[in-house]
């Protein structure tokens, strides 16, 4: 909907404010809003979580199903991430075939989770070459007030961590009614997170509200994870017309470790 686009005035004001290091809600440029996580929001899903960043609200569910492995990974399980930008979440989402954002969002979550090695896919193999588990992550934004990507990734890992495997009988049929006590084979060492940095003018901000997000020219998303105490970047995607300078990327690299610890600490409270 066109009324969601920012006006020239608001963009200029935000540019000026960011240059002064100020934001409308009184946060610093790289401060996150209040994070809260709720588990078990869906009874039908094997694992689910609802993540809130201020007014942003996203529900993520995990379903498990059995299927054939891909020919290039006969002893590995599969991962699928799908997203649906419901029109109820924001006037800027329309119903109909998925748009650019509806394809990009789950893709970014997929890469952040997959490339971090959080899920041990080899343990998801039931019978090599014939039957493996497929993990399906569904992302549903409920209210979009900016920063959907970071919220969705946190939702995905929270949902994965709360997932319980359903019972599997000998013929290979799944009994969804009965959940076992087995959790998904997740690595305890690593915890993938994604960080979306937005650039407006010469300022870099984190966790924008919808208003700020729409005013920004450029976004860059990094998927980061920690392995053996070492912080790694697993994925990176840039959106927008304007370039980022080397100095800006270096600045972002300074911010990521600090924010990673901060979010990690907050997450541990909820797990």
């Amino acid at each position: 909907m066109s009324s969601m686009d920012t006006s020239n005035l608001t963009k200029e004001t935000l540019k000026r404010m960011f240059a002064e290091g100020k934001r409308f809600d009184g946060r610093g440029l790289t401060d996150y809003r209040n994070l809260s996580i709720e588990y078990g929001v869906s009874k039908k899903a094997e694992g689910s979580a609802r993540v809130r960043f201020g007014n942003s609200d996203v529900v993520v569910g995990v379903k498990l199903q059995t299927g054939e492995p891909y020919p290039d990974s006969l002893n590995k399980g599969n991962l699928m991430v799908s997203g649906d930008l419901l029109p109820l979440a924001s006037p800027r989402y329309e119903s109909g075939p998925p748009g650019f954002n509806a394809i990009e969002l789950p893709r970014l979550v997929d890469r952040a989770v997959r490339e971090s090695g959080m899920i041990d896919f080899e343990k998801l193999c039931i019978k090599e070459g014939e039957l493996v588990w497929t993990v399906i992550i569904d992302v549903y934004p409920i209210n979009d007030d900016g920063n959907m990507i970071d919220a969705s990734t946190i939702g995905a890992i929270a949902a994965l961590q709360s997932t319980l495997m359903p019972e599997l009988d000998e013929s290979g049929k799944i009994n969804y009614e009965k959940k076992t006590k087995n959790k998904l084979p997740l690595s305890q060492e690593t915890l993938p997170l994604s960080f979306s940095f937005f650039k407006l003018g010469d300022s870099i901000i984190l966790d924008p509200t919808r208003e700020e997000e729409e005013a920004c020219d450029t976004r860059i998303t990094f998927g980061a994870s920690k392995w053996n105490g070492q912080l790694m970047l697993n994925s990176c995607q840039k959106k927008g017309d304007l370039p980022l300078t080397q100095a800006e990327i270096e600045k972002i690299m300074q911010i990521i470790p600090v924010k990673f610890e901060e979010i990690n600490k907050k997450l541990k409270k909820f797990l």
Partner: protein
């Protein structure tokens, strides 16, 4: 002052801050009063001898008439409403303006305060520019705007943001008392459009942020009686 709008005439449906009338929060279907003496006003209906709410909002008695101020609701354009809009497109004969209503609004080139050459329309108003305009007509096809009037025209500097349109009367207050108080305390220029878009321009960034937070505070506490005192207290707290 070019961008100043006379708020007094905007508060026609006077539902501003008034501590003498009693308001109560009602949900749709709730009986507000019983008795044949009362008349159903806006947002209410009569069912037998009862006056029943048809919206979620604040009900109040204005003499014999029961009025209801909805807490949520979209902007319904009416003639002579002063609104804030954003130019979305230029056409051969005028500008298309987004005013956050169901129908799109059109500003004909003839309705600008001075003569504009058709070839130089974008030098006066370009896409993304913000204007404060008056609704001239509301027809089945769409809404026509005019820029001819006091305080109407392109808004320069500052920023706009949105509140829920049905809360605009509360932000303006009785004869502009609420918005004038915020203006005084922060030193900002504020224009409140009937469509819920608010334009603020202040001497400093801090003053602008404060003015916006004050307006959002008022729009948030719309159901509270004696809000003027609360806002004064809020300003003292956030000094």
């Amino acid at each position: 002052m070019r961008n100043e709008i006379n708020e007094a005439h905007e508060a026609v449906e006077d539902s501003g801050d008034s501590s003498d009338t009693k308001r109560k929060i009602v949900v749709p279907g709730e009986v507000i009063v019983e008795g044949e003496d009362y008349l159903p006003g806006e947002g209410t209906r009569r069912e037998g001898s009862k006056i029943v709410a048809s919206k979620f909002g604040l009900a109040e008695e204005a003499g014999r008439v029961i009025k209801l101020i909805p807490i949520f609701g979209a902007f319904v354009p009416r003639r002579n409403n002063v609104i804030i809009g954003r130019v979305t497109d230029l056409t051969y004969s005028g500008w298309l303006v987004d005013i956050d209503s169901a129908a799109s609004a059109f500003l004909p080139i003839e309705e600008s305060p001075r003569f504009i050459n058709r070839n130089e329309m974008d030098q006066y108003l370009a896409i993304g520019d913000v204007i404060s305009a008056k609704i001239w007509t509301v027809k089945g096809k769409g809404i026509d705007l005019t820029l001819k009037g006091k305080g109407l025209g392109k808004l320069e500097d500052g920023f706009i943001f949105r509140i829920i349109p049905s809360r605009v009367p509360r932000v303006i207050g009785r004869e502009g008392s609420m918005v004038n108080m915020i203006k005084e305390k922060t030193g900002c220029q504020i224009t409140v459009g009937q469509n819920g878009w608010i334009w603020i321009k202040g001497p400093s960034t801090d003053a602008e942020i404060k003015a916006r937070r004050a307006v959002e505070f008022v729009a948030d506490k719309v159901h509270i009686n004696g809000l003027t005192d609360k806002v004064e207290a809020w300003f003292e707290e956030n000094e």
